[in-house]
Symmetry: none
Subunit: 200 residues, 4 copies
Amino acid sequence: MSEPEISLRERILETSRKFLFSDGYSSLSMRKIAKEIGVSATSIYLYFENKDHLIHTLIEESVEELSTSIEQSVEGVEDTIKRFEAIIWSYIRFAQHNPEKYQIIYMVHSDRMARYPKEKFRKARRGYALLESVIMDGIKEGLMELDKPMIAAYTIWAQLHGVVSVVFNQRLDSRIDRDEFIEESVEQIMQGFLIRITTT
Amino acid sequence: MSEPEISLRERILETSRKFLFSDGYSSLSMRKIAKEIGVSATSIYLYFENKDHLIHTLIEESVEELSTSIEQSVEGVEDTIKRFEAIIWSYIRFAQHNPEKYQIIYMVHSDRMARYPKEKFRKARRGYALLESVIMDGIKEGLMELDKPMIAAYTIWAQLHGVVSVVFNQRLDSRIDRDEFIEESVEQIMQGFLIRITTT
Amino acid sequence: MSEPEISLRERILETSRKFLFSDGYSSLSMRKIAKEIGVSATSIYLYFENKDHLIHTLIEESVEELSTSIEQSVEGVEDTIKRFEAIIWSYIRFAQHNPEKYQIIYMVHSDRMARYPKEKFRKARRGYALLESVIMDGIKEGLMELDKPMIAAYTIWAQLHGVVSVVFNQRLDSRIDRDEFIEESVEQIMQGFLIRITTT
Amino acid sequence: MSEPEISLRERILETSRKFLFSDGYSSLSMRKIAKEIGVSATSIYLYFENKDHLIHTLIEESVEELSTSIEQSVEGVEDTIKRFEAIIWSYIRFAQHNPEKYQIIYMVHSDRMARYPKEKFRKARRGYALLESVIMDGIKEGLMELDKPMIAAYTIWAQLHGVVSVVFNQRLDSRIDRDEFIEESVEQIMQGFLIRITTT
DNA sequence: AATGAATGAGTCTTCATTCAT
DNA sequence: AATGAATGAAGACTCATTCAT
């Protein structure tokens, strides 16, 4: 066949992501994944040592994509404020365009995360580290007056995550337009931060 | 005995909460709950039709407590701005003092929530509705200039949830002090909102 | 029904013994046991925590029976030589009449035995200890001249075990009559020991 | 290369023996063997039709070595009594120096042995046959007065096996020195037999 | 109000083996 | 001579739930 075949490994990851997103972590099962793909459950073990490894791979890939996506967003952008905005919006956009991948990053319970290799955890903070450095640039340039850039970065990240997760968990009032809500929220988050610059 | 006994029903709920908080939803099992209490698994079914009902009760109770807690916080408070602050801080404080209860509200996946009776959902929004009404008061009083109080209320709520959940999921950098992080974040969230009032 | 019912627990033990004897340890499976009895596999877990516990119970019961059987054999017997003979023959007879039970005691690989509670191990040596004490009596009475009664006891035990296990493992030439072989062997073992008395 | 390479076939047998000895029969798996060697599981099937064949080969080889070892021990020895002693000690020594090989001979359950080709079984009795013939020599020479040399041979063999297997199965009291125990036991076994000669 | 007995469906995982290459 | 991909059957064990008492 001339069709570009998708490897079984890739199909397993895809299907896992799909199930994880639609049914939640609790009901993700090797058998179900295999059945959905139309392959024996045993076959999964040819590509992933066990369920933990499969899930870790899923997390790792998502984190990597998010990080890369954020990094690319600031490439070529010089102005600090613009870099700041770029990071925030690329975070939001990633979540919007890759909801399953975004969810996976935060879904798995910390109990299972305990088994997640620590070095990979560090990678996961690449995006956050970039945000922190931008904030520090802002301080240097006299644009911001913050004594705790690390806390500031985490605060922004936490707010963004809150907004995104409320949308995804379908806990938003049905009368509210998703996109409008996101836009309003991001604006508010930014303003809550920038106020400290402009008003000073 | 004249001692006020804790009913089995209450003990089941308590234990479920404990397990849900410590081990996550996936590993909450009727048998474990029963064993922990020292009662037969069958006994749980005397008080709860099935696992879903048990969990729904858990959610309902938590939501109720949170709502009540928020309502009480504004009792006797007249000033709109102060009412606004009271709501936000009572939300945060509830999460801090009742982490298991708070977590439960957001823990269970929406798939399972689909089976959750809709009328109960409405109750869940009592706290939010109060926030919305305070915002509307602000607008009426000329303190705020917002055309979408509902979105505004949700935005604040989403941000608060983000902050709280980052803390609970232990995804905060270990060098950051929890309380300081929360205080900073809440301040920022409020400022992001109040800016629209004060600067006008 | 007026029939004396055999408890499921007992039937599980019985069936396990049967399989262990006929098919060996490797192919003993919870499912098979359950199927043979005509009960769900889950039911076994109502009576035994897990496979290990089931097997340990099997061992424990066999060991207990063997020990008791040996102890009873010397009851009321005064003469040391006769006590000595009684022990040996009761050991042999137990193996002959309860082949499955005998086999179980020695069947399970030491790896699995490592998890066997040590206190129960001590019980297992009751029969052996009796043999040792009889030998020591013999020495005191001047009937035997042995400096190492412990080794002597173990030696006899090892020989007896060898004879019995050869018979059970069906490695005996088909032309040889089992009973005759056993009788001859026991005689020889005794003589190998008693020589040290009589010839002195 | 002129180096004498160890064939894959040989490496498979070696590794199987190692696992069989250390982990017991139950946990001997084709995959584990292959992994240990660093070869694909499929490769084993190039040399052995299936697991049964592999194990049968293992048994066959061990039996062959034991037989050869016993045969060599009597080469050039003329005196019947000395030949008798040589056989016994070579049996013991083989077990001591090749514990894995010795164990294999007796390890696999008779159920699986049923599928073992009968002609190979006969080979297995070469060592035993030699012992029987020596005993018959003794009778001819007037050294022994036994009417059943076959039974006698089996009796000795059974006792030896008992002693060896008690040692290997680590069921010996830890206070007892292995070598001393073996020496004492062998002596006793011999005496139990020779008594019939010398005292007559 | 509470329980012991029981189960079918499901969990992850391992196994020996086959087949096309 | 060797392998990677695949699988059906089986392993131990857990789960929510039911039913008779």
